[in-house]
Amino acid sequence: MRFVRKKLVQLLVVMLCVTFFSFLLLELLPGDTATTLCAGAGGTECIEQKTAEFHLNDPMPVRYVRWLGGVVTGDFGSSARNAQPVSEALKQRLPVTIELLLYSQFLALIIAVPVGLIAAQRSGSLFDRGSTGVLFLFLAIPNFMLALVLILIFPVRLKLLNAVGYTPFTENPFKSLGSLLLPAITLAAAEMATYMRLLRTDLIATMQEDYITMAKAKGMSPRHILLRHAFKPSSFSLITVIGLNFGRLIGGTLLVEVIFSINGLGKYTVDGILGRDYIPVQGAIVVIALGYVLVNFAVDMIYAALDPRIRHARALV
């Protein structure tokens, strides 16, 4: 329990730091809410009025605390461009990004785990070398390139799937998964290589352990040993990295969302920065950071559950 509490406190501190620094960062950027609101219409008068309305003349820490107070009560402010409340926009867009994330991780894993298992079982074989080579190639493909190639092959040449757009999962799950298939593959490609290598390396290390030799000596089948004895202890780093990727990708789907015109969190953030509309960006960063931190927390918990030594280790944090 002390472990959990310590992690929670750490989580809170991290959140405060991230939000504070993102506030500071956005502060340094040119333009502010008032000038964005008054673009086109009004003049200095309008700017003065809006500046007063949003308390833009207050010192930055004061505004940060005020903003933070709002966030805690669920009020993220509203976009300066279309007056849409940020919390509402986040509610619409977060599920899209999460679906995309889950989907891509799922695709990456259903390829990476079997390939990793077989490659470890027959390390040094043609399959092992071949799969490693192909996945290394995947890792070098920039995701915008993969996106273009996929668009070229499926929607353009084969007239399959749509290049852009998104159908909500609640509306039609089947269509929804179809609409996100290409972006999900794009995101999954690089992850696949990482996961497969990680699993393979750890499995090979585990297979050197004494208890595996013991199992072999007892005459268990190689498949049984691989799946029942070696797989679980070898999946620790995989779980960690999946967790980390998950957190990382919450902010990392940005480019893919822009290319495939998916109205997710990433696109929301980019639109905000490019449109000099910083209140939404600030809100999105909170969600991204929170997601990242929570996933890390979850990974630590899973880790502790899988390996009791972690719960009692001192020098972890």
Binding site: L11, V14, C17, V18, F21, S22, L25, L28, L29, P30, S123, G124, F136, L139, A140, I141, P142, N143, F144, M145, L148, L152, V156, L187, A193, T194, R197, L198, T201, D202, I204, A205, T206, E209, S234, F236, S237, T240, L244, G247, R248, G251, G252, T253, L254, L255, V256, I259, V270, I273, L274, I285, A289, Y292, V293, N296, D300, R309, L316, V317
Partner: protein
Amino acid sequence: MPVPSSDSPGVVPSKSSIFAGSGDLATEIGRMSDGSAHELNNLGALDSDEDGRSAKKRLGPVFWVAAGWFILVALAALLAPVLPLKSYTAPSAFIRKPPSAQFWFGTDTIGRDIFSRVVWGGRVSLAVAFASITFGVIVGGTIGIVSGYFRGRIETLLMGFCDVLLSFPALLLALSIVAFRGDQRDLLTISLAIGVVSIAPVARLVRANTLVYSQREFVTAARSLGARRGRIIVKEILPNVIFPVLSFSIIAIGLAIVAEGGLAFLGQSVQPPTPTWGGMISDGRNYLSNAPWISLMPCLILFLTVLALNLAGDRIREYFDIKDND
């Protein structure tokens, strides 16, 4: 049961910092944090991790092919002004012509020769990549070596700074820096944007290596001989941490090229008509159905170059990896 990180300290990045590994797939620069250093390590260990005692260390043919390709691209980029290339800015009547003997890579929507644009674009893309990584290595390297050697409060402060940098999605950070520079989207701005993103990963790598080397006997020896701190850092530690940084920055240059492409896709890279690979790829994406070569040709060159850098950097890392000798 093996502790997961038994053979590779980078496996559990979340343990060293809750921010570790944060970044952005889009630019992949975030991968350069310790989490990814491990990935790369893993991938680097392709042929040596079973036997682990490859008799003689050689760079191997893969390295030379990769290095050859990169040198070719770099030479073309350097010599672009003196090469007999068609104009890369002047439009012509040959609009959207597919690759042919006359136009090796075809022509774009206003009839410019894509081959010469790829060569000139390479000039810009490579310049941005080199400049940004040089910046990242100098700033990040200094941060890393100082915090790794002096430890204490200064380490907490500097590494905290890196954690904050890492906690932003990389592309978002780069975008903010471009926005910060206003509408001046020149080489300097883009290099700076990508360079800042690369600070934290380099700093972590250098710090980790500095930590190891400052415990070594030769450093203790130098200290007991009365060497000043500055001398120890420059003469004893720097020469040792420079090799991992070198192989890392080769890979990082590839990532920076990709990062430029990412910015270009958001319309935030170097202003047209200056060609960059990313800009060209992005420009052609609306013509995928009837003129795919506009995007695909620069794409192919970019991919091969990044792949070559990955392979070469990987080989070099392996070549200089002292641990493998044990």
